[in-house]
């Protein structure tokens, strides 16, 4: 097991390194950031001085070496727009993103797993049809539309929820619903189809024939065996949420990472963008590692191989 983890850690390191290198290379294609953050009346001479001071005039290999050395020490340089350390600016926004993704994921799973299980167990019942309908809707409704509708109904019309921002648990309701709608739909569909597969297996029939309680068969025997792909999806989905739920964060003025990174991207604030890619790569790798370990726990066959 230790060897397994060590190998995966090494792989993760390579992934992070490659991601950073690719983004570093891409920034040369994106155009000159200097003029975007300086006022429009800055003279050519001043712009040149800025470029020189920021090291944009050095050969790319020098810039790359400097970048790697800095990144290794956790120093990605200052944000071009805000003149503060880029890493700190992004980390500052991480708690907001973590809490929102956590709540949204919890909400999604609490709804999706039972819906998926019951739909599979009662295939073609009215509950199943309703569930399927709801998941199609959940996947089809664009997040920005759902978000704005929620705002108009609950904030502007009924005035019971704040339009956005952070502060109380009330502020979590609409953004987490918006995020969870899409995620829950995916989980419900996946759970349902996996359960349908498993429920047709011989060992389920055996379990039932033995006279085990139906609920016990459903949750202990069937769901546990159906859960491998669900864990995979969980890891992927969490990675996506943590990388920043851009649209939701923007609409609900949620001070998270995604909204910040997209602004940085639009403003070509490369140090911030690089930090974003770095953190996303690290998070994805970590989540994948955790998912792999969870497989081993859920399915002993993986452990023994």
């Amino acid at each position: 097991m230790l060897q397994f983890i060590a190998r995966r850690l090494l792989e993760a390191l390579v992934v992070v390194f490659l991601a950073l290198t690719v983004v570093f290379a891409l920034q040369f294609l994106a155009g000159d950031p200097v003029k975007l953050f300086l006022p429009t009346d800055t003279t050519q001479k001043e712009i040149e001085e800025f470029r020189e001071r920021l090291g944009f005039n050095d050969p790319w290999i020098v810039q790359y070496a400097r970048f790697l050395r800095g990144a290794f020490r956790g120093d990605f340089g200052n944000s071009l727009r805000q003149q503060e350390p880029a890493l700190a600016l992004v980390l500052l926004r991480l708690p907001a993103t973590l809490s929102l993704s956590g709540v949204a994921m919890l909400l999604a799973l609490t709804i999706a797993i039972p819906v998926g299980v019951i739909s599979a167990a009662r295939r073609n019942s009215w509950f199943d049809h309703l569930g399927i309908g709801a998941t199609v809707l959940g996947q089809a409704i664009p997040g920005f539309w759902l978000g704005l509708m929620l705002i108009y109904v609950f904030s502007v019309w009924l005035r019971v929820l704040p339009t956005g921002g952070r502060g109380t648990w009330l502020h979590f309701i609409m953004p987490s619903i918006t995020l969870a709608a899409f995620v829950a739909a995916r989980f419900a569909r996946l759970t349902r189809s996996m359960m349908l597969d498993v429920l047709g297996q011989d060992y389920i029939r055996t379990a039932r024939a033995k006279g085990l309680a139906p609920l016990r068969v459903l949750y202990k025997h069937a769901l546990k065996n159906a859960s491998l792909p669900i864990v995979t999806l969980l890891a992927l989905q969490l990675g996506q949420l943590l990388g920043g739920a851009v649209i939701t964060e923007t609409i609900f003025a949620w001070p998270g990472v995604g909204r910040f990174l997209v602004q940085a991207l639009l403003n070509r604030d490369f140090p911030v963008v690089l930090v974003g890619v770095f953190l996303t790569a690290v998070l994805y790798s970590a989540l994948n590692l955790v998912a792999d370990m969870a497989y081993a726990w859920l399915n002993p066959r993986i452990r023994y191989e």
Binding site: G31, D32, K35, L36, L38, P39, T40, D41, T42, T43, Q44, E46, E49, R53, R81, Q82, Q83, E84, L89, L92, R93, A96, L148, I151, Y152, S155, V156, R159, V160, L161, P162, T163, G164, G165, R166, T168, L170, T250, I251, F252, A253, P255, G256, R259, F260, Q263, L266, N267, R268
Partner: protein, 506 residues
């Protein structure tokens, strides 16, 4: 059973209502201004950026500001307008008895310190190039600063407007990082808290030199999405929101809660005709023809619903140096065709590319499309390319636009900041320059005498009118959504100085 469930649900919903912040007397809650972004820094005189500056000025106050309509320069932290005993000397007299939030006295030393700070390259201030002409500074007495410049620099008069002043003792003792995290100024509001990407909270400074602010607590909230910003106004959360799109005006009015207050801004929108590349646009007659071919008035009436003010030349009607004798090019498509033919072109064979941003200025994309369709009526084919803002700016800076591009410029309340910035050949924001024009502009820049200066800029505006470097469009109207319980009027200089605001008494 069903009945009980329903009752429970209703109780739950009511519970939610009960938990929502209860509506309190207006005086108890902060005044909320919803902006699209947080400040890029809270350090005074570091960054040139509307969103940043508009928040900072409430903390720092400024030496001078634009007041009234049409706007004129008035002293705020200064005691009177600057004196210029000769072309190279500026005397700035300051208001007595002013103190910074930490009790430090305000005076000539503080202004001198702020200048020195921004001129120090290590501080990376955007303002450094603007004041590069400063030769020396001398504190004549605690309230009088004398500045000498290397060359005549009449533009200084305008650069001193919105000049914010920092507390020297404080900045020296805590350093830049802490001073920008916890800013101390002499303005009407004291810094309380800055939650990144969430809000900036300020409270009234009871010791403000002018009467203490009527509103005790203010909050700038950062809501990047426009629809959400509008929703926060309609939900009664935000009190002031800038840039309501003309199509949403009715919605705001109907809400009963808020209203739209508009002002003709000093920001102008124009369609630049690029004359740097060989082609028909290098011929003045073709450029004039394009001005005749577009019915700008109709665009203002139909598309903007009257919420734009047409301009005949390169300056807005409220610019200090505007030439009032210019009249807009009339709509005359026949004359347009004639002029193009005179220039040796067939309008039906002309093809142009028009680069437009989308959402940067009011109805920019729509206006570009309308212009293209007017030109289409006399046979000119115009392809409109809509760009993301960064790309648009990049294309303009690197001269990679099509033959035409749409852009806005402002706030612009005097001539040099517009004409000298846009019409010298090394500048790319207008796509136009001629040696003659450059000569006249370079002559006008150092003129200190206000009357002679006025005459010089008037002449240049006539030259520009004839050269037709743009399709001259309009000054945009700034539309603010404002909660009805707030007494506050927008200003053409795009400032949100909350000392001017009050709660409406009921």
């Amino acid at each position: 059973m069903r009945g009980t469930a329903l009752a429970l649900l209703i109780a739950l919903l009511l519970g939610l209502v009960g938990n929502a912040p209860a509506p309190t007397a207006a005086q108890d809650r902060p005044l909320v201004v919803a902006l699209g972004a947080e400040p890029r820094s809270l350090m005074a005189m570091r960054i040139v950026d509307w969103t940043t500056n508009v928040q900072q000025m409430n903390i720092y106050d400024r030496l001078y500001y634009w007041d009234g309509f049409p706007p004129r320069i008035k002293p705020s932290l200064a005691a009177e307008l600057p004196q210029t005993p000769d072309d190279l000397t500026w005397i700035i007299k300051l208001r007595p008895g002013v103190k910074f939030h930490n009790g430090e006295p305000f005076g000539a030393e503080a202004v001198k310190f702020t200048f020195e700070w921004l001129l120090d390259p290590r501080n990376e201030s955007h303002y450094r190039p603007r004041f590069a002409f400063i030769e020396s500074m001398e504190v004549l007495d605690p309230l009088t600063l004398r500045i000498r410049t290397k060359e005549p620099a009449p533009i200084m008069r305008y650069w001193l407007v919105d000049f914010t002043v920092m507390a020297p003792g404080y900045v020296r003792s805590v350093g830049n990082v802490e001073a920008s995290r916890n800013p101390i100024g002499a303005g009407p509001y004291k810094f309380v808290r800055w939650d990144r990407d969430e809000r900036l909270v300020l409270e009234a400074n009871p010791g403000y030199w002018n009467k203490p602010p009527a509103i005790k607590r203010v909050e700038f909230r950062f809501i990047p999405d426009f629809s959400a910003r509008l929703a926060s106004l309609l939900a009664g959360e935000a009190d002031i929101v800038k840039d309501v799109p003309p199509v949403a005006v009715d919605q705001v009015t109907r809400s009963g809660l808020a209203e739209v207050r508009g002002v003709a801004s000093s920001r102008i929108n124009y369609l630049a005709l690029v004359n740097f590349k060989p082609g028909p646009l290098q011929d003045r007659r073709v450029r004039q023809a394009l001005n005749y071919a577009v019915n700008v008035d109709e665009i203002v009436t139909n598309l903007f619903k009257g919420r734009a003010t047409r301009i005949p030349g390169a300056l807005s009607s409220i610019n200090e140096n505007v030439n009032p004798n210019l009249k807009p090019y009339p709509f005359d498509p026949e004359r347009a065709v004639r002029l193009i033919k005179e220039a040796g072109y067939d309008p039906t064979k002309l093809e142009f590319t028009l680069d437009s941003p989308s959402g940067r200025y009011p109805l920019d994309k729509e206006a570009s499309e309308a212009i293209a369709s007017y030109l289409g009526r006399i046979g000119i084919r115009v392809r409109v390319v809509v760009n993301e803002w960064g790309t648009h700016l990049d294309k303009i800076i690197n001269r990679r636009t099509g033959e035409m591009f749409y852009l806005g410029w402002g706030p612009a309340l005097e001539a040099q900041g517009t004409i000298a910035e846009l019409f010298r050949p090394e500048r790319t924001y207008s796509g136009f320059g001629t040696p003659n024009l450059t000569l006249e502009i370079n002559k006008a820049i150092p003129i200190v005498d206000l009357k002679k200066r006025q005459a010089a800029w008037h002449l240049i505006q006539v030259m520009l009118y004839t050269e037709a470097p743009w399709i001259f469009l309009w000054q945009q109207h700034d539309l603010y959504g404002v909660n009805k319980r707030v007494k506050w009027e927008p200003h053409p200089a795009e400032k949100i100085f909350l000392h001017d605001a009050e709660w409406v008494r009921r």
